[in-house]
Amino acid sequence: MGAIREALKRVQSFFRKQQRDSDLDAELQSHIDLAIEENISHGMPPDEARRRALIHFGGVQQAMEQQRHARGLPWLDILLQDLRYTLRTLNRNRVFTIVSILILALGIGANIAVFSVVNTLLLRPLPFRDPQRLVVIAPEINRGGLSGATYSVDAYDDLLALNRSYTDVTGYYAFSAADNFKLTGHDEPKPVTGLAVAGNFFHVLGVDPAAGRDFTADESIKGSRAVALLSYPFWQRQFGSDRSIVGTAVTLDGVPTTIVGVLPPTFDFGAVFSPGTKVDFFYPQVMDDIREQGNTLALFARLKPGVTIAQTQTEAIDLFPKLYWGKKYPNSNHNYTAHPIELKEYVSGKVRRSLIVLWCAVGLILLIVCVNLSNLLLARAAARSKEFALRGALGAGRGRLVRQLLTESLVLSTVGAALGLALAYALVSYLAHQGSIALPLLSSVRIDGQALAWTLLITVSSAILFGLLPGLKMSAANLQEALKDSGPGMSDSRKHERLRSVLVISEVALACVLIVGAGLLLRSFLHVLDIDLGFQPSTAAAISIDFDYVDGDHNAKLEKRNANFQEIVRRINAIPGVQTSGITDNLPLERNRGWQGPALKGKTYLPGEIKGAFVYIVSPGYIPAMGMRLRGRDFTWQDDMKGDSTVILNQATANDLLPGEDPIGRTVLIGNIEARVIGVVADVHESNVEGTPGGQMYLPIIRKWGPEGADLVVRTTVPPDQLASSVLHTLRDLNPNQPATEFRPLQQIVDHAVSPRRFFVILVSAFALLGLFLAALGIYGVISYSVTQRTQEIGIRMALGATLARVQFDVIRSTLQLALIGIAIGTVASFGASRLIASLLFGTTPTDPITFLGMVLVLGTIALLAGYIPARRASRINPMVALRNN
């Protein structure tokens, strides 16, 4: 009680300082008056009475100070005093202040932004209920792309029945393409992306619709009415966040589909499961519809309470070989394995190392910033040593001086952090809206409470880091020496200089590590860009075109579609600026599809011996339009149902099929259909840029291979976007139902595929540049300061006959000395650090000599420049002036 009241009173007194002080003044005055009066009444003369009274009272100022201490908040008083003083000094030293704040803002801002990314991608749990109990079910080593990571419906059914680890298992159809539905009835026809999921998908993930309801069990049964759940952004965009849309029907691919609900904004399918894609709506997969399609489901499960990941992995070893690819085929078990891993690991495992490297890089930056600031403060400290000596002489304790200096650094870092926060906010909002960067969860990156806490932490710790050393250094200064140390060459400023040199050397060494890291990543990126993709992405673009599915044996319909396709290609080719064009049902680097590959006719294969192949169902002209290298002949419009069945293989499949022989002209079996090999194309990177392409085969779209959509690829002689409108216009002309889809340059698709690497390279390079700049600033600061300090000495030397060149050379030599020691230490450190990022490199060794040599050259040159400016100044010193001054 008493303590609380006292605390309140102290606060009160703090705010009523003036009133309390005048009250105290009056009281002390009355005290002395009373004392004088009493002394006079004892017979003293007035002067003596006054003197005695004052002696008895003691120091009036001390008494007042003691009383203020006892009544108010002395620590806050000191803080405010320090703050006021700090603001005054900082205001006097504008250049120093602005430079420090800018440096800090860059360093802290970069750290906040990277922390937000790391926090979202690595640290923060996924936006599902109990996300740590969700597992991905996929084989440990993934052979054959996504179709090796998916399971058949029969396998899914058996897994549900037989497993003992999961409360439930769910999945989604893994092979759907973007814009696979057409929304009609709302303005012009619009392509939308729908994804089929198991009916229990949202229940298992623990995602509750923001409006409406989840799917019911009977909605996944064949023949039930069509329903859909909308994604939140699609609901906002297409239906203007209208809640009354729930329960009504929209027309998707001509089918009235009831919207049963809207998913919450936190659920972003693309962000978690398939970076860079967007899904507009979800519909329940009728499992019987895809039972015959083979491996189509990507599976997820929720662990039962108490079951560990290791336990389910052990169970999977025995369980998965029991599952059937298709129950109709009694030999089709022993096809599956699985190694369930936590969903979070699956989502961000691949980028973890890159992110940690990024985090380290940005940490290095902060370290360099602190060293730099320390250095600047030390330079100021030297200039202010007299001020501090004087304050010390007037009774300020060492703690008080350190406190004053720490207040200064805290003010600097706080202002820097505020500015940095603004920078980070801009950067993070920019990143969150980069749909073109294929990183998981990137769209949900934001500066949250945790990021703010992180900001606070790095602000305070960097203030201590860069403020403490100069603070201790300065307050430890010997009073007498400091007051005496006015001339150059005195011991204390020499010590200062040595310390500053050590700081600069460490700065250079840190910058070395950053530059080497960035250099290695940059060179890897350039190597990636140089990869032969098997097609020419430049001057070609793709547009998805309106497409009718043709069921089974509907020959007439198929012929009509073929005629349409032929007409489209003919009309497009006629557009001026178009070199050639062709149609495919999917594009490289976009999606996944695995079929059983071709088998040589007449050869007997063991079960599972026939390798998988990625299938492209294409029109004549597609292969040249992509700029692929073909041996043999392309499809012609005569390769339709009336002609023989034909196929084009890629080199990898050709090598597998007939090692060392030319397959052109041979007949192969695709399933049970015979086809003649008419050509071999160079391997195309079908699902990623950095991996090795697998087997591929190309089938004519004009036969019944069941294409799943249609993209028109146009190779142009002019930049593709110049033709966008005429291409769309021509397509509209031929088919009024053609949706207004984007005309996408192929380069954009490639860019998207390499975007995570580009993202990291750009960030790390930016940090390296920043580090370089800071190191240069550090070198410049130290050399420039030492030139100023030695003005007199240089003057004497010049008066004694030293040449300009000699003076310049001396300054530059000391610069290079610092830089070279730093570079030497940095090179050793870089060797260690580069080994840590070895797994992120592509076609570049961690000890890449070009990178290391480049780093030495760049840093050396920058150091030389940073030293040259003060050297020039030194050589311009006028000996007469220098000797007269001081």
């Binding site: 009173k9 009250d23 105290l24 005290h31 008056d33 009066e37 003691g58």
Partner: protein
């Protein structure tokens, strides 16, 4: 809740002030200082000014109250009086102090015997 720790001198002065006010009734700062000096003879060398830190502390803790008034010879002065809570504290501190001084006396007496 115990009051914030005071060093011995401060604590001693606080108790002296409470004792003076408890026995003498309301007094101004000068009066308290004079009274303590008189009672302690020349034993306490008191800088009279230090008493004001003690007074404001006791006041903010609610143990004494203060009011501006007029002295006998018509001079304005701030008068302090002990409060009810202050009396409680005074009793507590006095008891504590007595115990401590008894114990200290005994301990020191023992040391004196050892000398013989």
């Amino acid at each position: 809740m115990p009051p914030s720790k005071l060093d011995l001198l401060q604590g001693t002065l606080d108790l002296m002030v409470l004792q003076t006010l408890a026995t003498m009734g309301a007094l101004h700062g000068y009066g308290i200082a004079r009274r303590i000096e008189e009672v302690s003879g020349d034993e306490v060398l008191l800088n009279q000014g230090t008493i004001y830190a003690s007074l404001v502390r006791l006041q903010q803790r609610g143990w004494i109250s203060a009011e501006w008034g007029t002295s006998d010879n018509n001079r304005k002065a701030k008068y302090y009086a002990i409060t009810r809570e202050g009396r409680k504290q005074w009793a507590k501190d006095t008891a504590y102090w007595n115990r401590l001084s008894t114990v200290m006396g005994r301990v020191l007496a023992m040391a004196a015997e050892g000398d013989l």
